[in-house]
Subunit: 328 residues, 2 copies
């Protein structure tokens, strides 16, 4: 999977992913009205907006971006209809040739983690496998340790998928746990005696390295990637040096505050090894382009889904070109 | 919410929860056959088994146990039909008067965590609130820090719900991150200078204490509980001493290896302050009671749902009585 993603990034010369994290505020007025007319003012109406909106974004970006990252929380919020919208979005993106990274951040004790790993492995019913979730990769949370990751790693191997383990997240509160300094007296494979304290996220990084070392592919990267927030420049550079075979998924670009210059050090020396995600900056780009849409007045409606898609494309091209400028 | 749960535990004199974590192996043959006949050998058939099986367990235990803890992973594994089964199980348990602790272990950056918090807050559509998930409490993962917990804490306050934060999980790999010793040089509120190293899970515990201190209710416990695995006796006792106002959700009892004696120290001196979960030990009790069911032969079928429910009741009574013996 990682090899295919890397190949697609190289062909498009674009190491970026579109975060499909829709919210009602981002929906064009006409779409809203149509869906409320059809389904009433209900969670189902919102979920149906999301499906159509995402399709418009995908239609206008699938030829220039290699991957999408739908954030399942934005769908789960709307209950069963929301989950249905997530599944249909994943399927639509896959059929458009995009790599789909399901941002699900799951993690649980071993037996339960195996159930969650069905996101990658599908599920067996009386000997027949059903691939219900269809993601190419998912994000997972490391707090429960190695045996909680193992079922995902097995699914990656058996079904040619990938995981991205949360190492250092993009939010301000990430430091509460992830930046704690672990006592130098803790034993750690490959660590020298009298080494200085290391942080919890560096320790997670060493586990990620361990978990991935058997699956390094033709392009030099393993199936076990790391989530490293764009908002932490120094940590990103430190982790890049520590993890030569770990592909990075980098959230927090754009709306969350990081710019292209901040993330040069997240890439390897050839400009590879990472994919940068932007959500709002791309999918809500139409709101900047048509600032009066939705307000009372002449442009209160009339933004079509395709105009929203085209605005997303323009923003995706800008992001791509900025990233190209930085990594070349 | 915590006050109501505590009251119900006291009335029933039973600090235990039934883990509704079904799997196909636990389904009686006749139920399997009926559902496969109706829906084919499909994920939907399995999901429909789960709904009926859970209802049978709930029917026979709701008058003696205060709470259930459905593990969403066991349902999510079966895709949309599985999620539907989870939702119907939560609703059925609620209507039977049980407190429902959704074991969802969610956690994400602030804006996204707010979407996940819809599990507790419901979701707003054009000014109307839809309570789609209906859990009374959920479990959350602390790896992303304080701002990732904040939306859940707000939902707890606004809608009288509770959260249980993963502090020390029951699995063997929990030590990989949770037991790392944090350098004594880390500043930490309320900690003395030159205090010894503390573990990551103790540090999480101090955050949990912080997050809950404004919501301590009539019974002395806050809305912000902690998940503390029954399999770690010493850690449980240490955390109990550290967290006088934090209610514990204790998984890992029974099938995961801990017994009643191991967890005395998880309760406060009055025998309160914790609820112990057992999943397989209760819901799969019928398989021990009818060991030949499902095998080729005379008893290959013929176990009714109500027999499975009655076996669960018997196991729940045994667990209750063992816990009573320990905490009195």
């Amino acid at each position: 999977m990682i090899d295919r993603l890397i190949e697609r990034i190289e062909i498009l010369n674009n190491p970026s992913a579109v975060g499909l994290d829709p919210s009602p505020e981002m929906m064009p007025d006409d779409l809203k009205r149509d869906m409320y007319d059809l389904f009433g003012k209900t969670p189902k109406a919102v979920a149906e907006m999301f499906v159509r909106f995402n399709a418009a974004i995908i239609d206008r970006t699938a030829d220039i971006v290699p991957a999408v990252k739908p954030q399942i929380a934005m769908y789960e919020r709307y209950g069963l209809d929301g989950i249905s919208a997530y599944l249909r979005t994943v399927e639509y993106a896959s059929e458009a040739g995009l790599t789909v990274i399901g941002d699900i951040k799951r993690g649980d004790v071993a037996g339960t983690a195996e159930a969650y790993a069905a996101h990658l492995s599908g599920v067996d019913v009386e000997g027949e496998r059903f691939d219900l979730w269809k993601e190419d990769a998912v994000t997972i949370n490391p707090y429960l340790g190695g045996d909680s990751a193992a079922p995902f790693l097995k699914a990656c191997k058996d079904f040619d998928k990938a995981v991205f383990v949360l190492v250092k997240t993009s939010n301000a509160g990430s430091g509460d746990i992830q930046d704690l300094r672990v006592s130098a007296s803790e034993p750690c494979e490959g660590r020298e005696a009298n080494a200085p304290d290391m942080t919890v996220c560096a320790r997670v990084a060493s586990l990620v390295n361990e978990w991935g070392k058997d699956s390094v592919g033709d392009r030099g990267y393993s199936r076990v990637g790391a989530v490293v927030g764009a908002t932490h420049r120094e940590t990103g550079e430190m982790l890049r040096a520590m993890l030569p075979h770990t592909f990075f998924l980098v959230p927090g670009y754009g709306a969350q505050g990081a710019n292209a210059g901040d993330i040069r050090g997240f890439f390897d020396e050839r400009g590879g090894g990472a994919i940068v995600n932007s959500s709002r900056g791309i999918i809500a780009a139409w709101m900047k382009e048509f600032p009066n849409a939705g307000a009372q007045g002449a442009k209160a409606s009339g933004i079509s889904l395709d105009e929203a898609g085209l605005a997303a494309r323009k923003a995706a091209v800008e992001m791509r070109d900025r990233l190209r400028g930085v990594i070349r």
